[in-house]
């Protein structure tokens, strides 16, 4: 990844304003679009896209449908068409919101995710900057070692980690998750930010160094503002991973009011051998809503930021 940095004027990501609206600038198909006629596009683009979208969305639709389906229609496939719902009910959603601690779980999830994300962004910014720009001895090896952290996934770690969490006195505390989640977030964020930092020209830093700025000042005053899209991108990714994490949350948390959405919903709406399908699915949908909204605002940003990071 040692390719020389592109000249400043050629890279839209150096300019945050440009980076925020990348679609018009980086979309390579623009130039060729006129070559394709509509019928052809229909077959080569829209049809396959539609099929993939339907497959991707169907389980989601199924969840939404289940969330508003009265119980008796759920297992009666003879009298009711399973693809549709008659007399939808908001009973399950009502139960979820007002008869359980769902708002509390949602708050826990947000709190843990945001805190863990902020912590890992802080750590990864420093690490990525050190690997890319400080160039201390062994920087390359350390970069690789961080990536190797992914060799040790939660499914291997949770047994010993549980005993360690206990030893630190963090059992059943959100702090345990806030400290454990960065282990799955830092490697990706560091990689992404390393790519991003590389696109920032040396000249800027050298000027600042000559003016007597410290490393820390350079990082906070020059690099971070320029790398903002990269931060957003790493942040959203981290947030998503935290939001959906299961095995650590299952092992480290025990009291109902401390749980995160995925584990709380599963343990609250499975009564022995009876699944409360409606509320389970409503919980899944409402729980992912904040992220869906976040993505719908930031998806273009996210793509453009990733583009910046992988450009090397």
């Amino acid at each position: 990844m040692s390719a020389p940095a592109p000249p400043a004027h050629a890279d839209p990501h150096l300019n945050p304003v440009l980076a925020a609206q990348p679609a018009g600038l980086t979309d390579n198909s623009e130039g060729m679009a006129y070559l394709e006629r509509l019928p052809r596009r229909l077959v080569t683009t829209y049809l396959p896209l539609a099929i993939i979208l339907v497959v991707l969305l169907f389980p989601f639709y199924w969840m939404a449908l289940t969330a508003i389906k009265p119980d008796e229609q759920l297992i009666d496939m003879e009298h009711y068409n399973p693809f549709w719902v008659v007399q939808p009910t908001f009973k399950h959603i009502h139960k979820l919101l007002f008869e359980t601690q769902y708002p509390r779980w949602l708050w826990n999830t947000m709190y843990v995710s945001v805190a863990a994300t902020v912590l890992s962004l802080f750590a990864s910014v420093l690490a990525a900057y050190a690997c890319v720009r400080v160039r201390y001895r062994g920087a390359g090896w350390v970069g690789a070692a961080i990536f190797l952290a992914y060799l040790v996934p939660p499914s291997i770690l949770f047994i010993p980690l549980a005993t360690i969490v206990q030893a630190y006195g963090l059992f059943d505390s959100p702090i345990a998750l806030i400290l454990a989640y960065p282990t799955i977030l830092i490697p990706f964020s560091t990689w992404l930010l390393m790519g991003y930092f590389k696109t920032i020209p040396y000249e800027l830093e050298e000027c600042a160094l000559m003016d007597g700025a410290s490393r820390w000042q350079i990082l906070t005053k020059i690099i971070l503002p320029l790398a903002f899209p990269g931060l957003i991108s790493a942040g959203i990714f981290s947030l998503t991973l935290c939001w959906n994490e299961f095995i650590y949350a299952l092992t480290f948390l025990s009291s109902t009011q401390n749980k995160t959405v995925p584990i709380a919903v599963v343990s609250e709406f499975v009564d022995g051998d009876v699944y409360k399908w409606g509320s389970l699915m409503a919980g899944a949908l409402l729980g992912s809503l904040p992220l869906v909204i976040l993505y719908s605002f930031f998806v273009e940003y996210y793509v453009s930021a990733l583009t910046g990071a992988v450009k090397e």
């Binding site: 750590a123 060799l151 499914s155 273009e300």
Partner: protein
């Protein structure tokens, strides 16, 4: 040599002090401070538990009881344990098939999404939905979709007159594997597609225009321009994908619990079943530790395999 003579009287302690000072003024010192948070977190919550886990695998620790060192005994028992080897096979199959299909579909989807079309932003965020819904809950939804009696798929096929009885999705080993792999693909494709889409956007349009002017076909353009330029990002994304697939837990746990008759047990789920549910921590840790070499091999294949392609394609500057 006069130089040496002159410096001789300097106290012995000085070199260490000055090297310490040099270190403090050097890049190494700055690097140390910058790396500190990451090192602390990864050290305390990753390296230490990993070492502890490896140690556990050499003991007969049970939950609630300290174990003693028993050498390789846990591994010896695993060595001729059919269920363990089945789980290894399942894990490899699961990873290989799911990653390959995820890659193919993800790349295809990325190419589609890269075209200019109305509602682009909305479509892109819709694509990401499977990535956003909590996995364990979407897995439960899949479990319902693949139910032996109430599968919506069986119902549709029956009503279309294609089949007579319900399909036993999660009861037949081959079918069950296909189902969990499908669910994994469903969940994994969006991330790959979006990341590859980001990669695609780095390809300069002028290259395409030049190729089109030279009369290259779409296929040639894809094969000669897009793919080689995309290779570095493919290597990274696929390595991530292989890692996450290999160590998957939630999906299997929510859908099959390793059934039917262990046909979908992955090493991670088997480790949980033996280590936590059965209480034999040492053995669970041994299974988890046994994942590491396989994981290294899988990553080696996806990372270096793809990197080599990058060199062949002329990306020698990496």
């Amino acid at each position: 040599m006069a130089h040496t003579a002159l410096t001789q009287p300097v106290p012995v302690a000085a070199p260490t002090r000055s090297s310490w000072q040099r270190f403090r003024a050097s890049r190494g010192w700055a690097g140390f401070w910058f790396m500190l948070p990451t090192t602390l977190i990864l050290g305390l919550f990753l390296a230490y538990p990993l070492l502890k886990g490896i140690w556990l695998s050499f003991t007969n620790t049970r939950i609630g009881r300290e174990g003693v060192f028993i050498g390789l005994e846990n591994y010896e028992w695993l060595w001729d344990d059919d269920v363990f080897w089945l789980s290894v096979f399942n894990t490899c199959l699961y990873t290989a098939v799911a990653s390959a299909i995820k890659f193919a579909v993800g790349l295809y989807l990325a190419l589609l999404l890269n075209k200019n079309m109305p509602f682009k932003a909305i479509i892109r965020s819709i694509v990401l939905i499977p990535f956003v819904v909590p996995t364990v809950l979407s897995a439960i939804a899949f479990w319902w979709i693949f139910d032996s009696q109430f599968s919506i798929i069986s119902w549709s096929l029956r009503h279309l007159g294609i089949i007579d009885g319900n399909i036993d999705f999660l009861g037949e080993p081959a079918m069950a594997r296909a189902c969990v792999i499908f669910a994994n693909i469903w969940r994994g494709v969006p991330f790959i597609a979006i990341t590859l889409l980001a990669g695609l956007q780095t390809v300069s349009p002028s290259l395409y225009e030049a190729a089109t002017l030279d009369g290259a076909s779409n296929w040639q353009i894809f094969w000669r321009i897009t793919l080689p330029l995309l290779t570095p990002i493919i290597a990274v994304v696929m390595t991530f994908s292989v890692l996450f697939t290999f160590t998957d837990f939630q999906l299997i746990w929510a859908m099959t619990r390793g059934g039917p008759v262990n046909a979908t047990h992955l090493m991670a789920t088997l480790s949980y079943q033996r280590g936590i549910l059965s209480g034999t921590l040492g053995e669970g840790a041994a299974i988890a530790t046994a994942m590491v070499p396989f994981l290294l091999a899988a990553i080696g294949i996806s990372w270096f395999g793809l990197q080599r392609r990058a060199w062949q394609a002329g990306e020698s500057d990496r």
